[in-house]
């Protein structure tokens, strides 16, 4: 039926556009922040009452395939931008989304995707205050692309920055690394049979960050998405001008991810996570942070290394391999996986 697929008129800014948006967002409950103006006004912009520093991030999500074990592009679009704001030390409070969809796309799939996005935002008590929906003619876009912006307010004025890692800090990861990257890469390579029970780790890290924020002595936090743990640690090392040494044996990697990585010839440390946090914390609190995380269900939270001031290696990440050698873990280079997020 014609009405079950996206047509150009759905993106033209007229009657059909408005009707479609109303239909797609019918399940949305939180459409504005108290005292503000939100999605329900269908005005030019949104108003977010905020009396604090605004923390914000934008990302466009192009993941392929759009449905994958553990999530879909809608869940990812909400999660990814929430996480960017959360790891800065902020409480996400509002979001805006912009959806561009290909003519002919099934509206049932679009509803599924948007409902997943809404579900994440509502679970996190984040209002969707504005958005955009456009249609590109058939063949001009591969299915769908979603951009999201999340706006948060700073809590306790504590900012977790890549540049704040201190020599002596311990490096912690909140869970296994590479799950999302392994799943998506395997799907793209057509070896879905090998994925088995493995699912993407796609989930908000707000709970992790709320636990972490209870501690004094947390210096830096990051969600290791594109480029994986390797890229995040390199950001820490180069921006803080410290040497980071991590121990391969201590890094939690699922056996399925290890197996897939070997099959694909990819280092799991460059595979994207979409629900993990890498932390740099004062060594005195490191064990307690890990204990608190494990107690709250993050059973794979682990100390994986430390930072030091070492003139010869500052700005770099060193990996102690399982065989005992030490090698530079460089910033990832090359194609890795296209459309991983």
């Amino acid at each position: 039926m014609l009405e079950d697929i996206i047509v150009l008129a759905h993106g033209a800014g007229g009657k059909e556009n408005e009707a479609l948006i109303k239909r797609l967002f019918s399940k949305l409950r939180l459409k504005k922040i108290n005292g503000g103006i939100g999605l329900d006004a269908f005005d030019d912009g949104a108003i977010i009452p905020i009396q604090n520093n605004v923390v914000t991030s934008i990302d466009s999500y192009t993941v392929d395939p759009i449905f994958f074990p553990g999530g879909n592009i809608g869940k990812l679009a909400a999660t990814g931008s929430i996480n960017d704001v959360a790891v800065m030390g902020a409480d996400p409070i509002a979001a805006l989304d912009s959806i561009v969809v290909e003519e002919g796309f099934p509206i049932t799939d679009l509803k599924k995707i948007i409902n997943s996005m809404i579900e994440v935002f509502e679970q996190e008590n984040i209002a969707v205050v504005g958005g955009d929906l456009k249609v590109m003619p058939k063949g001009k876009l591969d299915k769908i692309l979603i951009s999201t912006v999340v706006i948060g307010k700073l809590v306790n004025k504590t900012l977790y920055l890549d540049s704040k890692v201190k020599p002596g800090d311990k490096i912690i990861v909140s869970g296994t690394v590479g799950d999302h990257g392994a799943v998506i890469t395997a799907l793209q390579m057509g070896i879905e049979a090998e994925i088995g029970e493995l699912i993407s780790d796609c989930q908000p890290v707000t709970k992790v960050m709320r636990i972490v924020r209870e501690f004094k002595g947390v210096h830096a936090a990051k969600d290791p998405t594109r480029g994986g743990l390797a890229m995040s640690l390199n950001e820490f090392a180069s921006k803080s001008n410290v040497t980071i040494e991590i121990d391969e044996e201590l890094i939690p990697v699922r056996s399925e991810v290890k197996a897939l990585s070997e099959m694909l010839g990819i280092d799991p440390l460059i595979l994207a996570c979409e629900g993990r946090v890498v932390l740099s914390v004062d060594s005195e609190i490191a064990d307690e942070v890990v204990k608190a995380l494990r107690k709250n269900g993050y059973k794979d939270a682990s100390i994986i290394g430390y930072a030091r001031d070492d003139e010869d290696w500052n700005g770099l990440v060193l990996l102690k391999t399982v065989t005992g050698g030490l090698r530079i873990l460089d910033k990832p280079t090359g194609e890795i996986t296209p459309r991983i997020c």
Copy 2:
């Protein structure tokens, strides 16, 4: 040369991604707001110090063709989101952008596009505090798609809302309508020879809004983009529950736009503008507002009609045609022009 086109590695979140972003944004001067954290930090999110209500809007720009008389997709992406925030009554102060580009896209074109975007933001003193850049494999996206978010702060706590039009108000447009829509539609139809000297009206409306904000008695403002003047006036009428009557003879439409519209069989009142404002103002100040606009270079600024409380027609827009008849100017429906913005 390989380095002159976009490759997948440019979007992979690794070394090449970082290097490309640095290269593309080399001309950007305003990378953060004083006391905040911006694009130069390459961190997960941006910090915008703001002690006020946040006004914000997101849009994804898909315009086809990406270069057109009067602008390109970069200029449009900056302008469009600036305008959404400005017409709410706010001062735009910060922006974030997310670029998704097709593998194989020429980097010189990408630089041109980004430089146009940067130029608009810098002319407006808006800092680009964050962004994202992804690459989609060849054939998965038609050239380039840009999403922008602009964040503004409210001035004087005066909000211009679609729902605030009052019976008795005069309706003003700040300039000719339909220029952008006519240019893009003509290009898509392959009749560029007919465009002649006509160019898109793509430009920030911040100056118009600064003039307008000097007046008390301005109730609603809107930039008539997709769906054109017809859609904007319908938003006013339905959200404010008033009858809006406009006079076709008073609406400034360039002769080239009229000619193109006739040729294309499209009503110029549904053609998108990208640099105009529609205002609803107290009748007592209407002449003065128009005078102030004309004095400042907006020589086509005109009163085109008024709002009234008329039980029979409230929620609707009536158009007095040149022949003297009165017809309902409905919300546009159907395809209009795909990828107009």
